[in-house]
């Protein structure tokens, strides 16, 4: 029974496909999986928009949307109808073809990322040996569509936003990859299912997730920073800084094309949170050994939503960075720590079991963080904002 519930989606697909002639089965099976991904995540996006608005409101001691439907839960439907019925404006001097292609390409690239994510036991669309590599290839190509949008709009705000976005995404691509490489170094595999399998054990009822090791914890923190920048979320939302750039690269988009950009941004957030879950939080495995009876996909999506909640929480707390602070932070702080983490994980690997490696690895990472942070703050490179004229 428990096993059936765990595998319910896999069994459902087999059952649906079994009605068809054998020659059609593989194709229809693939299409069913695609349909599931393409329906599920936009639905999750719709829910997230209303929960984000409500969460941000609560953080600011407001009520948030509560008019459409019970507790405002039908708000995304109203928003969807609104964006569908709005006029689709293409600027006269815009490059119409590229302007149209940009949001479509963004969505395609983002959806491709979901293909390799294991969302439950046996629930991975393509179990690729180089899944992680494929994922990063796809997530990096979203930069192209962002720049296409900014370039084709023929608007200074769009172009500035796109240039900022590309600069930021390329800068943070480096720490993103380097912080994930530690996992590959430990598991010796680029396959995401193997990475999840490597974290599936339990000691004293606690899981073997990589976040519970010194290098994994450091890697996860840097991964979280890099993903926040990669998905253009606050406090790294410079590409769409409303106060200076109107809306950044999607200034000239209206109606459903704008909605597609919005959707793409949130889907990128889901997929990159899903990857973080897979790499550091044990994927679909349960957090305690006595909870292993709960279906694996519930764990995956709970962890995913928890990450989304942290994204929203950070958005409600942190003010936007300045461009130079953003770049300094990426190249002078996160990147050296990522490189150090690579050394630490190698040390961890070759020191063998025992308590000594815990102490040494933790000491190196904490010491490096503390001294670098102290040095940078003393030189005023990073740290609290200082104001020359205000105050």
């Amino acid at each position: 029974m428990i096993n059936t519930l765990d595998q319910i989606f896999v069994l459902l697909r087999h059952w649906l496909v079994s009605f068809l002639p054998a020659a059609w089965q593989p194709l229809v099976g693939v299409l069913l999986s695609v349909a599931a991904i393409v329906c599920l995540f936009p639905a999750l996006f719709a829910l997230t928009t209303v929960f984000e608005r409500k969460g941000l409101a609560r953080i600011q001691n407001r009520l948030g949307p509560n008019r459409v439907g019970p507790f405002g839960l039908l708000q995304p439907i109203a928003d969807g109808i609104k964006s569908l019925t709005k006029e689709d404006i293409v600027p006269l001097s815009a490059d119409a073809a590229v302007h149209f292609l940009a949001p479509v390409l963004l969505l395609v690239a983002v959806f491709m990322g979901f293909a390799v994510l294991p969302m439950g036991r046996n629930m991975v669309f393509v179990d690729m040996d180089a899944g992680l590599l494929f994922y990063f290839a796809m997530s990096a190509s979203t930069e192209l569509s962002v720049f296409m949008a900014g370039w084709s709009s023929r608007n200074k705000y769009s172009l500035l936003g796109a240039m900022r976005a590309v600069a930021q995404m390329i800068s943070y691509e480096v720490p993103l990859l380097l912080s994930s490489v530690v996992v590959v170094m430990m598991t010796g595999s680029l396959s995401l299912t193997k990475i999840v399998a490597a974290q599936s054990g339990f000691t004293w009822g606690l899981p073997h997730w990589f976040i519970f090791t010194p290098w994994g914890c450091a890697g996860f923190v840097m991964y979280a920073i890099a993903t926040t920048a990669e998905t253009n979320r606050s406090p790294f939302d410079l590409p769409e800084g409303e106060s200076e750039l109107v809306a950044g690269y999607h200034t000239e988009y209206s109606g459903f094309k704008f909605a597609l950009f919005f959707l793409g941004e949130y889907l990128a957030m889901f997929s990159i949170s899903g990857l973080g879950t897979t790499l550091f939080l044990g994927g679909w495995s349960a957090p305690f050994s006595f909870l292993t009876w709960v279906p694996s996909w519930i764990w995956f999506f709970s962890k995913l939503m928890l990450s989304i909640f942290v994204f929203i929480w950070m958005r409600g707390t942190l003010p936007r960075l300045r461009q130079d602070q953003l770049m300094n932070f990426a190249w002078k702080f996160v990147l050296p720590l990522c490189l150090l983490n690579l050394m630490v994980v190698a040390l961890w690997r070759f020191m063998g079991d025992g308590w000594l490696r815990w102490v040494i690895c933790s000491a190196i990472l904490i010491g490096a963080y503390a001294t670098m942070g102290w040095g940078e703050m003393r030189r005023g490179k990073i740290g609290p904002r200082s104001y020359r004229y205000a105050e």
């Binding site: 009520l63 942190l318 963080y369 942070g373 102290w374």
Partner: protein
């Protein structure tokens, strides 16, 4: 230590997030159409024209009691030029009994008005004041937002109701002016009588 401020901030927002579900005094939001807060004395939205009614309560004498004398100062001073006044050809006695012009047409386009209150400040006759009515939405964005003099005319009692302190001051000033005008008229009359008597005496 680096990152301390971020953690402190996150703790603060988390406190707000969970606190807002448990303590009602955190949520200061008023759910507008159902709940309302009493308007503030200093609230101002768009101007209206004050008229004095002989028997308070009915708006019958909005035309005769209107304080406006169509001097057109507000029209000239209005920065966005949203006031349109047409002066009358004839004169009518005002509150002091002096014959004055009156506006045949007094329109304010509230889609243009920016609520700056300059018209109120320049008016020497206390005839135009700021209203607190803000629910002015209409389906006709041209005609519906152009208010004519009948729509703009509100009684002095209404003015007292929305801005009590300010209206009391205005009334005191008007009464003082009236007393002064009466005294002047009386002394002028006395002087005329005295002059006439003197002329009569001289003649005799």
């Amino acid at each position: 230590m680096l990152g301390e401020g971020i953690l402190k901030g996150m703790a603060e927002t988390a406190k707000n997030f969970f606190g807002s579900y448990f303590s009602a005094e955190r949520l200061t939001t008023v759910e507008y159409p159902e709940q309302r807060i009493a308007p503030f004395e200093a609230a101002r939205v768009f101007p209206f024209l004050v008229f004095d009614s002989k028997n308070p309560g009915d708006g019958a004498d909005w035309q005769t009691g209107m304080r406006c004398v169509a001097c057109q100062i507000c029209e000239k001073e209005c920065p966005p030029k949203c006031i349109f006044i047409e002066k009358s050809k004839d004169k009518k006695p005002d509150a002091l009994g002096k014959p004055q012009f009156y506006p045949v047409k007094f329109d304010i386009d509230i889609s243009v008005c920016m609520s700056c209150q300059i018209c109120v400040e320049v008016c020497p006759f206390e005839a135009i004041k700021m209203d607190t009515e803000f629910e002015l939405s209409t389906v006709d964005r041209f005609g519906g937002l152009l208010l004519d003099r009948q729509q703009l005319a509100k009684s002095n009692e209404y003015y007292h109701q929305i801005h009590p302190a300010e209206a009391a001051g205005v009334d005191a000033r008007l009464v003082a002016e009236k007393v002064k005008a009466d005294a002047k008229a009386r002394s002028a009359a006395d002087a005329a009588v005295a002059k006439a008597a003197a002329i009569a005496g001289e003649g005799a």
